[in-house]
């Protein structure tokens, strides 16, 4: 019982860390860059016109969330994308898919109804002429 609670809490904290790490456009851009291959901190800093310490701060948040890993290679220390936590985030959001699908279905229905109404009106006006 306690273990289940602990595990749930740990997973919850893990999810919170993942979502918090993703809640920043620069950090999402860094992940997008790493999706095309490993990169050093200097390479990652380039497109952002940011100081190295500022980028390092973002990298630390991503590293704590387990979204990137840094190689032990002292010379270069490239960063690597670790997508595993994104799976848990995707799984969590997935539970809500039916809600956004439903609202799109309602929108589709509304647009269909609107189209039908318009064509009825057109037919009416044509028959009046």
């Amino acid at each position: 019982m306690y273990l289940t609670w602990r595990l749930n809490t740990m997973t919850a904290d893990h999810l919170s860390a993942t979502f918090a790490a993703l809640a920043d456009p620069t950090r999402r851009a860094i992940l997008a860059r790493l999706a095309s291959g490993d990169a050093s901190v200097t390479e990652l800093a380039e497109p952002f016109e940011m100081s190295l310490p500022a980028v390092s701060k973002h990298l630390k948040v991503l590293e704590r969330a387990g979204l990137i890993a840094r190689s032990r290679d002292a010379q270069w220390r490239p960063c690597q994308l670790e997508a595993r936590p994104l799976k848990d985030a995707a799984d969590w959001i997935e539970h809500y898919r039916r809600f956004w699908s439903e609202s799109f279905d309602r929108l589709d229905q509304y647009l269909e109804d609107l189209k039908e109404k318009e064509s009825k009106n057109e037919r009416k006006q044509r028959s009046k002429k």
Copy 2:
């Protein structure tokens, strides 16, 4: 050009607001509760052993991110789940699916190799006996 940039920035901010709102276990639990039906603030506060102001604060974050809507019914003002922003979050994460699938494929391969090695060792030991 400017419009594209503005739209990108707006979408980016929107995504950040969504992820930031999801980065809290209580807010995720509130969304889970609302997935089973609309609820008043008092009803939402109950399972969390939280003060109404504390819950209201969480609701404001969710409302700003567009994840919940509150009815104008002055008597009851129930909260409703609005799943639309979750779709954008899911779409963003979806781009990384191949990375976590790949790492699971690698893990599968590793376990397969391990099993094969073990059964080879067993056969060797049996033939020695």
